[in-house]
């Protein structure tokens, strides 16, 4: 490093500060510097932790229970099983759905589902600011909504089943994203019109990268409300929505 002049060093810092990627981290021989290597290990560990993280008891109490949001679990019984068998995280037992029908209102415009997905941390971090923005916004626009449902061990498609059972026109699944090495706390919102067990991925409109350094949760909330309005008007979501002109 000492061979690089002060201004060159400044330039390098300028460039590398423009991206969270691991550029210009220095090297010792053929290997990265210990500092950079440790940082990489830490970030990797954080990502792995996020994948293995579960919604904490405290969060379930303060977020779901305190607001009387139903809390249920997919057809998976442990986090390990959830990671190893992705399809099982997309379904909910019939008995659970039948019970849900008795406690939740049906036939609403929108059903919100909050799932841990591949980062429960992302949900704990962002849902508190994101959800009330969406709930408020829908209310202001006279769009009816069912009681939000919180799902443990849920993947994106789990929302389709829940919304289908509750006969909602549109489902929003707020779900923890697969962590990367620069953020383990990213949340995505999947919006699907006419959700059903037949829904496929191209039917979904998604807003990704909702986190501190991406789109702020509150701003994403306001934007999702605008998306919901458009999708309900156009009666279509996903790729078909983008094709409209």
């Amino acid at each position: 490093m000492s061979s690089i002049s002060k201004t060159k060093q400044d330039e390098l810092e300028d460039f590398s500060s423009a991206t969270p990627a691991r550029v210009a981290v220095g090297r010792a021989g053929a290997r990265p510097l210990t500092k950079a290597w440790l940082k990489f290990r830490v970030d990797h560990a954080l990502a792995r932790d996020a994948v293995c993280s579960e919604l904490s008891e405290e969060f379930i109490q303060s977020f779901a229970a305190a607001n009387s949001y139903p809390f249920l679990q997919s057809a998976v019984s442990t986090r390990d099983e959830f990671i190893q068998f992705p399809p099982r995280g997309k379904v909910v037992d019939k008995i659970v759905l039948e019970k849900l029908k008795t406690i939740c209102s049906s036939g609403n415009d929108v059903q919100i589902v909050i799932s841990d997905g591949l980062s429960a941390k992302a949900v704990e971090k962002n849902a508190v600011d994101l959800l009330p923005m969406i709930v408020d916004g829908l209310k202001m626009n006279d769009i009816s909504q069912g009681t939000p449902v919180v799902v443990r061990f849920g993947r994106v498609a789990v929302g389709d089943q829940i919304a289908f059972a509750l006969q909602a026109r549109l489902v929003i699944n707020l779900i923890g994203e697969r962590p990367g090495l620069s953020s383990a706390e990213g949340l995505s919102a999947y919006l699907t019109y006419n959700p059903s067990p037949q829904t496929i991925s191209s039917d979904r409109t998604v807003v990704s990268n909702i986190h501190e350094r991406g789109t702020p949760a509150v701003e994403a909330g306001a934007y999702i409300v605008r998306l919901v309005k458009t999708i309900l008007e156009r009666r279509v979501s996903g790729v078909e929505l983008q094709k409209l002109s």
Binding site: E11, D14, V128, D129, P132, M133, D136, G137, M140, S188, V206, V207, S208, N209, G214, T215, P216, A217, V218, E219, A220, G221, A222, Y223, V225, R226, L227, T230, R234, L241, Q242, L244, S245
Partner: protein, 510 residues
């Protein structure tokens, strides 16, 4: 992707001309992310001839003649005013001080479209010419510090960029037309007009020729005298660039404003009419019968001999007009909030009444700050409304805090009901969120008022129109124009607002 035509008009001390450009706005966010509007392409579609600025017999700008001249260029380009969406008409340098600058501005407004900032002011001119010359972009690409000096007939406008970011602008109240000459008369020139700045130079002791001559007698000067005058000015400019205190002589010139912020430049770029001489050695030094040619030569020589790297861009005279046409417009973030009926809106003063985001959590403080800002900026209650730029909201971007802030702002807005629409400028990507929370607070206040059976007029105060924008750089000026929304997709989910920041300075003699 949307593209539209932009115009740049430059009415200077010496020359008047225009440029039409096509700007293309596109969503540059990666797929599946919240949209991000950006001006993706800027192309010049037409450049007018360079005309001498028409003046009346008493030395004012001939507003009608300027109007006709610009109108003819529109015809030549086969472009109608209603085709023009944005742009800027700049009344530059000394011209802005002329008594009828306001009249010219009003005339030009008739020729401009939706959102053409018609304005004057050295800060904006310096900034736009440094963008138009390419100096600002070169500074960004090379990660260097570049000073652009746009030398016109009446003023030199300096803009200093470091790594692409504007550090400061400066104005020196002297230019190529400080002395107007009439042909050679046996090796001598007859001085037919001299500005206060040129006179000041003589008074400073660099006396090339004394003003002993009586008014009736024509003043004749030698080429060597003129060269010494040009050298004296150039030396002071170099002193100023080197931040040598001797350059303080410059400060006594009319129109001069020197900001404090400074960084030693790696390169000096010369643009403006006088720089045309620097670009073309063969050009007749007395083409415009003034000091321009000699001043350009003296500047290049003095800058180079003092070790500064001098660059002359292509078409230096067009730097301001190119900047006005291509770089005056910004686009807001594409998640913003606005009542479309209020748009476009022009000439809104911009104020920053808050230091920290914590202040926004205090309802009474917010109200008193708004009132104080209003009294300061608009004591005569002339402006229809005022735009408030908020401090960074990074530490209060959670739902609860932002809701509280929105409630405080909405409450204050209802008590200053004449601000229609109520305009907020947010630094972070929070415009749409703040807009939603603000409207919610308005609705809550209305409901409360209904409950306590207030009058209808009181009720309406709570539901005033609103514009909340983010994603713009407000360093460009103290007045803002906001245009009609531009959609980034066929479903109009993402919409951005074109914005022009500007400065307005009229007849503020120093």
């Amino acid at each position: 992707m949307t593209s539209f035509l932009s115009v740049g008009i430059d009415v200077g001390t010496t020359s008047t001309h225009l440029t039409f450009s096509r700007l293309t706005i596109a969503n540059v966010a990666p797929a599946n992310q919240s949209p991000l509007a950006k001006i993706e392409k800027r192309e010049i579609v037409f450049q007018s001839q360079i005309h001498m600025t028409p003046l009346t017999a008493d030395g004012n700008i001939d507003a009608d003649a300027v109007y006709d001249l610009i109108a003819r260029e529109y015809e030549k380009a086969a472009i109608k005013c209603e085709d023009i969406k944005v742009g800027a008409a700049i009344i530059t340098g000394e011209t802005a001080l002329k008594r009828n600058a306001q009249e010219v501005i009003e005339k030009l407004s008739l020729l401009s479209g939706d959102l053409v900032a018609v304005s004057a002011g050295a800060h904006l001119e310096a900034l736009l010419s440094s963008r138009g010359s390419g100096a600002a972009e070169a500074s960004r690409q090379k990660r260097s510090t570049i000073l652009n000096i746009d030398i016109g007939g009446g003023t030199m406008n300096l803009a200093l960029h470091k790594n692409g970011a504007l550090i400061s602008t400066h104005c020196l109240g002297i230019g190529g037309r400080c002395v107007q000459l009439k042909g050679t008369n046996g090796g001598e020139f007859e001085v037919i007009a001299m500005t206060a700045s040129a006179k000041a130079y003589f008074a400073l002791g660099d006396c090339v020729f004394n003003e002993q001559t009586e008014d009736s007698k024509p003043l004749n000067v030698k080429l060597a005298d003129l060269m010494r005058l040009a050298d004296a000015i150039a030396s002071d400019v170099v002193c100023f660039i080197k931040q040598d205190p001797r350059a303080t002589a410059l400060q006594s010139l009319p129109l001069t404003s020197l900001e404090i912020d400074w960084a030693a430049p790696d390169e000096i770029w010369l643009s403006g009419g006088v720089a045309e001489f620097c670009a073309d050695e063969k050009m007749n030094r007395f083409e415009f019968s003034d000091l321009g040619g000699l001043l350009g030569d003296a500047l290049v020589a003095k800058l180079r001999s003092s070790g500064l790297d001098v660059k002359i861009p292509n078409q230096p005279i067009r730097a301001t007009v190119t900047g006005a046409g291509m770089f005056s417009m910004q686009v807001t973030g594409s998640t913003v909030d606005f009542d479309i009926n209020c748009l476009p809106i022009r000439n809104v003063p911009l104020v920053r009444p808050f230091q920290t985001s914590e202040e926004l959590l205090d309802r009474e403080l917010v109200h008193s700050r708004l009132i104080a800002a209003l009294a300061r900026v608009d004591p005569e209650m002339r402006a229809a409304t005022i735009a408030f730029e908020l401090p960074t909201l990074n530490s209060v971007n959670d739902y609860q805090s932002l809701k509280k802030i929105a409630a405080c702002l909405a409450s204050a807005a209802s008590r200053v009901a004449r601000l229609q629409p109520f305009i907020l400028i947010v630094r972070e990507d929070l415009g749409m969120a703040l807009g939603q929370l603000f409207r919610q607070a308005q609705a809550d206040m209305e409901r409360f008022a209904l409950d306590s059976s207030s009058t209808a007029s009181q009720k309406s105060a709570f539901t005033g129109a609103l514009i909340v924008i983010d994603g713009i750089d407000t360093a460009d000026g103290d007045f803002i124009d906001v245009g009609k929304p531009v959609s980034l997709d066929a479903n109009e989910i993402a919409r951005t607002l074109p914005v022009v920041l500007k400065t307005l300075v009229f007849g503020r003699e120093h």
